[in-house]
Amino acid sequence: MKPIYLDHAATTPLDKRVLEKMLPYFTENYGNANSQHSFGQTAKVAVDNARKTIADIIGAKPSEIYFTSGGTESDNWALRGTAKRYKDKGKHLIISKIEHHAMLTTAKELEKEGFEFSYIGVDEYGSINLDELEKAIRPDTIFIGCMYANNEVGTIQPIEKIVEIAKKHNIVCFTDAVQAMGAIEINVSKLGVDMMSFSAHKFGGPKGVGALYIRNGLDLGKIITGGHQERTRRGGTTNVAGVVGFSEALRLSRESLDKDNEYIKGLRDRFIERVESEIPYVKLNGSRENRLSNNADFSFYFIEGESILMMLDLEGIAVSSGSACSSDSLDPSHVLLAMGIPAEYAHGSIRFTFGKDNTLEEVEYTVDKLKEIIHKLREMSPLFKLNSEVKNV
């Protein structure tokens, strides 16, 4: 059996049609999009077209799309750029507790530089606490940032409401849409957000390329200084093949969004149904309805996630875990902890994220293997025997 990839939230395979579009920009049309000669102009046209395609799809103007090296750079730019530009107005910024590390680590750095952060909590389903958010606002607040959909448990945030609150108080509002972009129809101008980050490899595009949407008229500090690329706001030779791949991947994923979502959701729901009915002592983390259609995040009680991940990998099934043992920091998932999930259950968490290339057969096989693995590991667990009647379930 060929390996089964169930980690689409980490990254997705590059769509072959995307690769086709990219290839000429490596070997034939290799010009620097900033050069004046015809090589450069060919590349520039490709970049301009990509920018326009992306802008059209998300309801933005081409002049509002800034290409970057990916989600992390875009998040850094939004956060640092705001801090840098508006520090005279205030030094207080607000983000949620369940942001990606690209945000959280940057916030920690900015704290060292004298900025203050409020970290807004979430409810048990991973949805941001709007009251707490509004209460955290101070006269010197310059930034509100919350991800569009969470990468671990897939919870979709009440982003319209967050934007509304930010606007009411006239505060710059940002959303990290890295995880949401390929799965939800996003329209930035309708949403009214000031900035939004994207990453191409989450929806069939190449790694190493992404974008930051910056609403026209919003001033923002620079974090990468260099040449005149990206209207002098972000230096660095444009990754021509990358942005071509980005736009094509987005176009294709939008074209079949409803169909793909329905299919993926079908697989995911079948998976959840079987796991819940056939494996005792499990908990689906996150919201049942309000979640990305590809995501199923489970805690398996009495056992540890890295062991589950490794055993699945030995069976050719790739997943990820929020366990402390599978993180280099030895802390369990900050997202699950923020949701109030006890550390020992966070240790036993596994994220399964499905994609359009997965099959029902793969789902069934995965559940079959998972059952065996969970049983085997529980037999090995010192916590399990404490609950002796558990054994008979």
């Binding site: 009495f302 540890e304 890295e306 490794m310 030995l314 240790h347 090995m380 010192p382």
Partner: protein, 121 residues
């Protein structure tokens, strides 16, 4: 990330479980990441004739407990006290650096089980 020996010990761990009428039991937890390990031993004339483990932890924790219990079976309790996590790691051909602390669990659980045995004598 893990070498083949570690994977193999993880995949087919030996000595899993709990000895029914054990002579010594050692349960240790690793505060760093909340892992727990339990080792039970059966001792005859100060020689460890059987050892079993249960663990809540990562693949390295499982592999090192399997290896460590395997090493101490047949040893006198004094010899078993000399089994350090270094020796277990060496036997397994190395562990990733962030996984060294897991191997300490097995060493500590063995020491505790022996202490428990001694205290009951």
């Amino acid at each position: 990330m893990y070498n083949e020996k570690v994977i193999d010990a993880f995949k087919n761990p030996k000595n899993v479980g709990e000895i029914e009428n054990y002579d010594g039991i050692g349960t240790v937890g690793n505060a760093t990441c909340g892992d727990i390990m339990q080792i039970t031993i059966k001792v005859e004339n100060d020689v460890i004739v059987d050892a079993k483990f249960k663990t809540f932890g990562c693949a390295a924790a499982v592999a090192t407990s399997s290896t460590a219990t395997d090493m101490i079976i047949g040893m006198t309790i004094d010899e078993a006290l000399q089994v350090t996590n270094r020796k277990v790691i060496e036997y397994l051909g190395g562990l990733p650096s962030q996984k060294i602390h897991c191997s300490v669990l097995a060493e500590e659980a063995i020491k505790k089980a022996i202490e428990d045995y001694k205290s009951k004598k």
